[in-house]
């Protein structure tokens, strides 16, 4: 393969922007396509109140996609987010059943999430294990803990105010509360990733861990921090989810990690790290949420929706590759263009660290 080593340098940033802009244009097209599809298939799609439904049904996954974006850009992955979410929901329920005030229960749930993330981070950095393996293990471990703690029970006698938070909208608007949470977190993560030295180090880490280490990036510290953030935010998603369906169950959010990771990859983040933007991920989240919503409103079952999302993801990987092969004029620098252009990069950008 034409695994051209990327030379870190000045031209890189502009090149990256140019290519990613193309990918994001494609995503805008996909998003518009999803909107048209929804509008054609259901008369209720373009209704004002549908926005709240569209957002609230995808908010938890969208929130978890933010730290996931940073983790994948840093060259790692967190498969355990949905299990962390379920475990925190269970902890919230148990604490509430024991009669603690609600804010204590929520704090406890967030703490448990952070501890889950810390466990992942320490196992990955101290033992030097691949995050894929570690979080695959904790995916099972955290879910097992949740099941052991709550068994087949459910805690559902939450106070009205809590349910309103999960289910209601900001007074006077059609915007669900969960969308406000997402917007605030998006702003925070965008600043961290795109406007701070932490973000630059995350990209450096994902592009080449060795080089980053030599460049005095505190690799382990950043990794642990990212996983702690991922755990805590998964717990926050768990709290929102618990409020939305007003019940804690051990099987809450099972399988959510796949939607989260799929949305991040569709957003143009390279599974091998170092590339991607939050803008792309936000567009991809909007596309997937719109697609699912439009299909649901036209009575397409959840399984078929997943097929559509999966097809979209695979298609988004295949199309740019195919287009590049069919365009001989661009062969010379085609390897690069493709590698930078969103998920297409997953197909071949397995270049080892330079040096």
């Amino acid at each position: 393969m034409s695994a051209t080593t990327v030379a870190p340098g000045a031209g890189r940033a502009t090149e990256r922007w140019a290519v990613l802009a193309r990918w994001e244009t494609l995503l805008v097209g996909l998003l518009l396509g999803s909107v048209v599809l929804g509008a054609v298939r259901s008369p209720f799609f373009l209704d004002g109140s549908n926005f709240g439904l569209l957002v609230s049904s995808f908010a938890e996954k969208a929130i978890m996609a933010l730290p996931m974006t940073l983790i994948i850009i840093a060259g790692e992955i967190d498969l355990s987010v949905a299990s962390t979410m379920g475990l925190s929901s269970v902890v919230l329920g148990l604490a509430w059943r024991d009669g603690h005030p609600l804010w204590v229960c929520i704090a406890l749930a967030l703490l448990v999430g952070a501890v889950c993330g810390l466990t992942n981070g320490l196992l990955i950095t101290l033992l030097g294990l691949p995050s894929l393996v570690v979080t695959l293990g904790t995916l099972a471990l955290f879910r097992g803990l949740a099941q052991g703690l709550l068994k087949q029970d459910a805690v559902s006698d939450y106070p009205e105010a809590f349910r309103t938070f999960g289910f209601g909208k900001v007074p006077g608007t059609g915007v669900p509360w969960s969308a406000v949470v997402f917007a605030a977190l998006l702003a925070l993560f965008a600043v961290v990733l795109h406007r701070s030295w932490v973000g630059r180090q995350i990209y450096a880490l994902g592009s080449s861990p060795e080089a980053a280490r030599y460049a005095a990036v505190r690799v382990d510290r950043i990794k642990v921090a990212l996983f702690v953030a991922s755990g805590a935010i998964a717990a926050l998603a768990g709290v929102i989810y618990t409020a939305r369906i007003s019940s804690s169950r051990s099987d809450n959010a099972t399988g959510f990690e796949l939607d989260v990771i799929a949305a991040v990859l569709l957003g143009g983040v390279s599974i091998f790290g170092g590339r991607g933007t939050l803008l792309g991920v936000v567009l991809s989240l909007a596309t997937v949420a719109t697609l699912r919503n439009g299909l649901a409103l036209s009575n397409v079952g959840a399984a078929t929706q997943s097929v559509a999302v999966g097809a979209l993801l695979i298609g988004s990987v295949l199309l740019p590759n195919a287009a590049r092969r069919l365009a001989p004029g661009r062969v010379g620098r085609g390897g690069r263009g493709g590698r930078r252009g969103g998920p297409a990069s997953t197909a071949e950008a397995h270049d080892p660290a330079p040096g």
Partner: protein
């Protein structure tokens, strides 16, 4: 080799004799089989729908008459179903069962479709592919957005679904729960498939009829703490205390913990401890199947009568073998039918869910809304060898 050769040589005569013998045996077997089947059936014929205490079975309208299954009698009253159909053209009722792949809910949906066709409304069934409360919440929100006229829901979690359903009600959608209720303020009507008293009594009434109102009987329940079973057993004991049951004695209530193996073992122990045991009631689907297997293994099938609560698919083989002659449950077709009719009546404004209101439910007749917005389907349905093949759930 040698045997085969010999047989061939012996020829036609011997083969004919063997055939004749087989024929006689077969006739004898069939006769014997029919004999065991027929004997209690005669009791049934005598008493028709009357229990040992001289009351109609199912404490009210004839149970067997009510539950005309899927292929039932929609033509029975062509205009009875039309009454709640005032707004028929806009009537769009969505069924949201616990799980769309469960044959029980698939069967109930046929009743909903039947009612929709009679009333002139639309019917759709949506829901999760496996029982999941969170997915049901999403479906409720989608249905609300689709502005269906009514949602008929069987809840996986009574509280989890409540906020979404309240939101639907606030948008003007009518909500009916069936099979499994939600929080009372999150629906207008609960179509209750089983009245505890009728469920409890009918099992004693069936067994009394099968035993000719005499003999020792035992109960094989679930866990000793099981709420439903204990409520039913209370009504069973009450029924047995009525005059007419003097010669029927409840010798023991055993607990199989809803575990097939434990239930099986308890049944065998009952048979050993009470050699003259005439019948067993098992008011749990796990228990009755395990008890039937135990009776067949011990060679006591048809000798010790067994009845209780179960589903046709699970008990079909035991009904066919004669180990179980009759068992009870509600008819899910009728349940779906009534849920649709109640939804239609709510949409038409015939009822609002307040106690004391009445509405017409097509072939099932007239219903009155009870306490807490409950509408009780009616007497349990009795499954027999004759009708079991009309059901698949």
């Amino acid at each position: 080799m040698r045997t085969t050769a010999t047989k061939t040589v012996r020829g036609e005569g011997a083969r004919l004799a063997a055939l004749r013998l087989l024929l006689i045996l077969a006739v004898a077997l069939v006769g014997a089989g029919l004999g065991t089947l027929r004997a209690p059936a005669r009791v049934t014929a005598q008493d028709a729908n009357t229990s040992c205490a001289g009351e109609p079975i199912g404490a009210g309208a004839g149970a067997e008459a009510t539950g005309s299954p899927a292929a039932g009698s929609p033509a029975a009253s062509p205009d009875a179903g039309a009454s709640p159909a005032a707004g028929g053209a806009d009537l769009n009722v969505a069924f949201l069962p616990k799980d769309t792949t469960n044959p029980y809910f698939v069967t109930a949906a046929t009743g909903g479709e039947e009612a929709a066709a009679e009333v002139g409304g639309q019917f759709q069934q949506v829901g999760p592919a496996s029982a999941n409360a969170a997915e049901q919440v999403t479906f409720i929100q989608t249905l609300t957005q689709q502005r269906v006229s009514a949602i008929a829901v069987s809840a996986n979690d009574p509280d989890a679904l409540a906020p979404a359903l309240r939101e639907a009600i606030a948008q003007g959608i009518k909500v009916v729960s069936y099979d499994s209720d939600v929080a009372p303020d999150a629906r207008q009507i609960f179509v209750n498939q089983a009245d505890s008293e009728q469920i409890g009594r009918i099992q004693v009434q069936i067994l009394g009829r099968l035993l000719g109102c005499e003999g020792e009987i035992a109960i094989l329940s679930a866990a000793s703490t099981a709420t439903n079973q204990n409520t039913w057993i209370g009504f069973m004991e009450d029924e047995l205390a009525k005059p007419g049951y003097e010669n029927m004695t409840l010798v023991e209530t055993a607990y199989g913990d809803d575990d097939p193996q434990v239930s099986f073992d308890r049944t065998v122990e009952l048979l050993t401890a009470y050699p003259d045991l005439g019948g067993i009631i098992s008011p749990t689907t796990v228990g009755i199947a395990a008890a039937a297997a135990a009776l067949e293994q011990e060679g006591r099938g048809g000798d010790v009568q067994l009845t209780g609560l179960g589903t046709p698919n699970q008990l079909r083989e035991f009904v066919q073998s004669g180990t179980i002659q009759q068992f009870a449950l509600w008819n899910p077709v009728d349940l779906g039918y009534l849920a649709y009719q109640a939804s239609a009546a709510l949409v038409a404004g015939t009822i609002t869910g307040a106690p004391g209101e009445t509405f017409e439910a097509g072939r099932l007749g007239s219903y009155t809304v009870g306490e807490n917005g409950q509408v009780v389907l009616g007497p349990p349905f009795i499954f027999t060898a004759e009708n079991i093949d009309q059901f698949n759930f």
